[in-house]
Symmetry: C2
Subunit: 160 residues, 2 copies
DNA sequence: CGGGGCGATGTTATAGAGTAACAGCATGTC
DNA sequence: GACATGCTGTTACTCTATAACATCGCCCCG
């Protein structure tokens, strides 16, 4: 699971893995990964680009053949975020699947402004620096958010 | 002792200083800090809590005695953000005045979930950690966003 | 088996955040 | 004055998210 995710990788594996991990985690925790929630999770994993709730909604409606209400998706997303299966990218109002649920999350992302891909990283140095500076100021950290906008390796090569 | 801003400070000074600095900076740059933009800047500085565009809009409408369109505020905010006079807090969809415009900005905030105050920091260690990890992955950083949710010193004392 | 509780889902309506397109106005410059 | 440029106003619209309330399904307990 490198940060270097080849552009031509077999993404069906990513999806299958994500669903398998989600099943295991929820079973272990006694959380109910219902059919609806599982389907929303799958739709979040459509790609490695953060997806808006309404994009997911549209897919879901189409797949179900009937129109679905926004709330349906938002509630599912809320559950998935609580379980750490999905992260919300604040600066994009969008959601992305977590590649390593169950592990500790610091919530750090490299977001490419060219291709839209977002890679989750968990760099202890960033987390340490945040904790240090917060401690120095007496600030109690609850949820650190790090979203780095920029350009990924692939896109740099394509547009030098 | 609080980070930099006692809860009982004279906030009129904060506002006056911010406007003075803005005047100077814009004059120096040849940017036009029009009456409208200046007023929006003042309204952003209403407090040290990030404010939503529509809250500012409401204040502006009331102050002007006539209803104003959202776009008016958004355009002013866009200008102010470009000039580095105001920052947008992504995780809150809200705007806050910059205490040190003109200087280099890394965009780091400690946001208290209890009182809503947001303190801008510019910790070189955080920035360095981000640059390092990005470099290791071949990611070119454009705009790093760090928004740490948690609880400020004052609020910790009040609710143990 | 028959409720009763509780969490998940459905429905409808509304709030909040942001933008597009176009017109008018105010500068300053030549 | 004529023009160019940039700021502001107006209208309408999209996207994001939540509130309030009804309903359904499932498990537990009697
Ligand atoms: Zn993949
Ligand atoms: Zn890219
Ligand atoms: Zn102040
Ligand atoms: Zn506080």
């Amino acid at each position: 699971m490198s940060a270097a995710r080849p552009a031509d990788h077999d993404h069906t594996h990513c999806i299958a893995d994500a669903l398998t991990r989600a099943d295991a985690l929820c079973a272990e925790r006694g959380a109910r990964l219902t059919a609806l929630r599982r389907q929303v999770l799958e739709l979040v994993w459509t790609s490695h680009r953060p997806r808006g709730a309404y994009a997911i909604l549209e897919d879901l409606s189409q797949r179900e053949g009937k129109s679905t209400a926004p709330l349906t998706v938002y509630r599912a997303l809320e559950f998935l975020v609580e379980q750490g299966l999905v992260h919300r990218i604040e600066s994009l109002n969008a959601y992305i699947g977590c590649a390593a649920p169950g592990a500790v999350h610091s919530g750090q992302f490299l977001v490419c402004e060219a291709c839209g891909n977002a890679v989750e990283i968990d760099d202890p140095r960033i987390r340490a620096a945040i904790d240090t500076t917060a401690a120095e100021r007496g600030f109690r950290v609850n949820r650190p958010t790090v979203e780095v906008r920029g350009m990924c390796t692939d896109c740099q090569e394509k547009s030098p």
